[in-house]
Structure formats: C-alpha cells, structure tokens
Symmetry: C2
Subunit: 244 residues, 2 copies
C-alpha cells in the first residue's frame, strides 16, 4: 500500500477495517464517530456521504451494518485519492466508491432521488477559501459557511428518495440556519441530539436526522455528555467507541 | 378585594406583590417564572405580554425591574378580568394595563412597531377550542397549535420596534416551527436556553430570545436543570425563585 509523506495507517478496531490519515491535516474526529453512531439504516440501503474526507463515515457505516452501497463525495483531489486508497486497502471497492466531485453537482453523477440515506459531517467553515480559522475573516467566512449549509442540504434533497433520511453533525450555533435550510429543501427535522462536553455545559455539537417529505414532528433525544467531571470519557462515549 | 368561587390570593414573596389565581384552572407555573427570569430589558422599556393569563409575567417583570409600561393582552374575558383585579390590588394600574383583546389584533389597539420588549408564555395547545389535552384530538390540535405559534410571532413582529426583543417559553418539540416562524417574521433567534427536568434527560422547555431585524448569530446557554437526582430543586431553580 502506497503511503505519502505524513500519512499513516490507523486500525479502526472494527471488523479489521483500517484507514489512511494525514497527520498534517486530514484526521477524523469524534464528530464523525458520533455521526456514524447516530445514523440508522436498513441492510439494503443505498447511501451517500457528502464531504467524506478520509472516508471515515463510509467505513464506519460499513462496519456497523453493511448497506448495499455507499457513494462518497469529496471535492479535494488529494483527499479523495487518499480515501480511495483506504477503500482499496480494505477491499471494499465493490461497495464504497469515492467520487472526486463537487457535492453541489453530485446528483448529475450519482442520479437524482434514488438514495435511502445521505450523511454529512460538513466543514464548519467553507472549503477551498484558505481560511483556516473562521474568525480570521468573520464576515466572509460567515457568509460562506451559510452557503455551505445550503449546498449540503440542497444536495441531500437532490439525492434522496421521498422518505429517505439525512443525517448531519454540525455546530449548535448554526441551528437556526440548519433548520431554515432543511425546511426549505423539504427535509423535515425529526430527531435532534445535542452533544455537551460535560454536564452543565452548553452543547458544542448537534446531531440531526431529517426525513424527506415527512410531516413535522421533532423529537429531542436525551443529551450526550462527552466527559465526566474528572476529565475521562463518559460510559456512553466509551460504549460508542467500543462498538465501532 | 372581590374574590369569586375557587379564587385565592397568593403572595409572590416579591416586593409585596400578590396575585389572584383560580384553583380550578388558571394558576401560573414554573414556565412563567423561568420566562420572567430569562427576560432582560432596560428600566424605561415599553413592554407587551401576549396571552398574559393571571398577569403573572407583568407582575414578575415589574418586580424585577420597573419598565415604563406593560400592556398585557388576554383573550378570555373572565381571566382578563381576574388579572385586572390583580393589577388593581397591587396598585399598579398606572403601569400595567390588561387588554381583553385577541393578540392577533393587538397592534390595532396598542399601536404598531412601538414596543421594546414582547414576552409570551403562549398556550401550548390552541385557545378557545375546548380541547384540554392536545392528545385528545391529535391532528386538530397539532394543526391549531401551529397557528398559535404563527399568531404569537406575527403579533410580536407587529408590536416591536426594530431592534426590540421577543422572549418566549415553549416546548422543544415545536423548535422547528418556532424557528421557521421567527425567521419568517424577521425576529432573529439570538439566545436559546433549554430546560431539562434533570441531568441526562431531554429538555422539556425552551426559552428563546429573538431580536427584530438582527443579524443571524445564535448563542446557546448552559442548560438549566430543574431537579436534582434526589427530587429536590437544583440550586439554580432555588435561586430563581428566591430572587422573585
């Protein structure tokens, strides 16, 4: 297996799956693990992951319960190529396909309204602008972040069947924009789970499931706490990681 | 002071304020106390309370920090009359006025776009339908509850100055509808606080502050827990009640 500078192979401790990551930029985080854990689907589902990065979400979904297929979309050529090598390494090319395309046009390659599940752990800041910290240029980044949420949601709408599910992880301070966009694109928010760093602290992540064309009825789940007071992971977080 | 059958006078333990309540139907709850605690305003503010019921919110706002005036709107004649007697009893007729009008037409009596603050602890089920438990007729009540949120939000928009604040308490499962309506009527959600019955449990109330015409930027506050594991109130709830 070819590895480039700064790349390493990590064992996911899940059904023998391994992942290539780049120490300088493209390592998956807890967001991806929580999103994969939050995502529910049937065995024969056709799935799409928008902005797949290392390909972590498709791998985790595959390890959790084999869907029929996962189309993974990644805009940046180098990252898409790295994710493709991960799929090859895991001998999953028959099931997981990496597409080096823009998620805004994903439906032109992947087909419209034919998928059961779309997942996304989108960049919380705009891709391709070169701005690492959104606070460096607040007004530009704020504007472009808004575009990104709309792009992702619109793309999910284009890809999903009626009744299909869209799972996303994002930041709670974008909740209003997220909800507005989901409603705009007929993806009705059905389940929200807030992730809090610890008891008593405001949430810093939100997991949201929407169903295309569903009737309004939101359910909030019990909060997920990441750390105990002593700074170690909560039992629930340990369970999520150990069930990887 | 005239009292009718089933009425009683309760001491709010706040600057000598007292309130008339009806044991059979119209007693204020923790929702009102939390909303009044959550509401912030300047001394010279002109306020409106939509769906005031017993008049508890105006009394608590008055006790907290004297606003210039509070117009309190109540549709149901008997409750409005009871609230008026409470205002008289407290010698606050100069500052708090009870209006027995429909909140949908409140701006025609109270004037458009001239208020700094609007508060509302709206019925979570539709007023005037005779349905006490919304589960008794789910589809009708669900539909009419949606109307009610839009009515309240639209009325707040009609009453508020640009830059004025709208404070509401509601149920978290209506979050999506609330956010959609607030955006529709140019009341930008700025602060949300979820109220959880206890640590680890999903929220059962939400407090939301919106500002008319403001730019998007949502802040979530740390969660508010009502009960400790032993079933007694948390220190924060005790503090809120003791600062009444």
């Amino acid at each position: 297996m070819q590895l480039y500078e700064n790349e390493r192979i990590d064992d996911l401790q899940l059904k023998g799956l391994k992942i290539i990551q780049n120490k300088e930029g493209f390592c998956f985080g807890m967001d991806a693990v929580l999103l994969a854990n939050f995502t529910t689907f049937e065995m024969n589902s056709k799935c799409v992951d928008l902005g797949t990065g290392t390909g972590i979400i498709p791998l985790l979904l595959w390890g959790k319960r084999k869907p029929q297929s996962i189309q993974a979309v990644e805009l940046q050529p180098k990252i898409a190529e790295m994710a493709h090598r991960t799929v090859v390494m895991n001998k999953l090319t028959e099931y997981i396909k990496i597409h080096n395309i823009d998620l805004k046009q994903a439906y032109t390659s992947l087909g419209m309204h034919k998928y059961d599940v779309v997942t996304s752990n989108p960049p919380y800041m705009p891709a391709g602008t070169g701005i690492i910290n959104p606070n460096e240029s607040k007004s530009i980044s704020r504007h472009e972040v808004r575009c990104t949420i709309e792009d992702v949601v619109k793309s999910a709408n284009n890809l999903l069947k009626n009744g299909g599910s869209f799972f996303m992880v994002h930041r709670p301070h974008r909740l209003v924009d997220i909800i507005e966009m989901l409603r705009k694109y007929k993806l009705e928010p059905k389940i929200i789970r807030f992730v809090h760093p610890k008891v008593g602290k405001k949430p810093n992540l939100l997991l949201i499931k929407s169903i295309k064309g569903a009737k309004p009825e939101l359910r909030l789940l019990d909060p997920l706490y990441v750390y105990k007071d002593d700074g170690t992971y909560t039992e629930e977080i340990k369970d999520i990681y150990s069930s990887l």
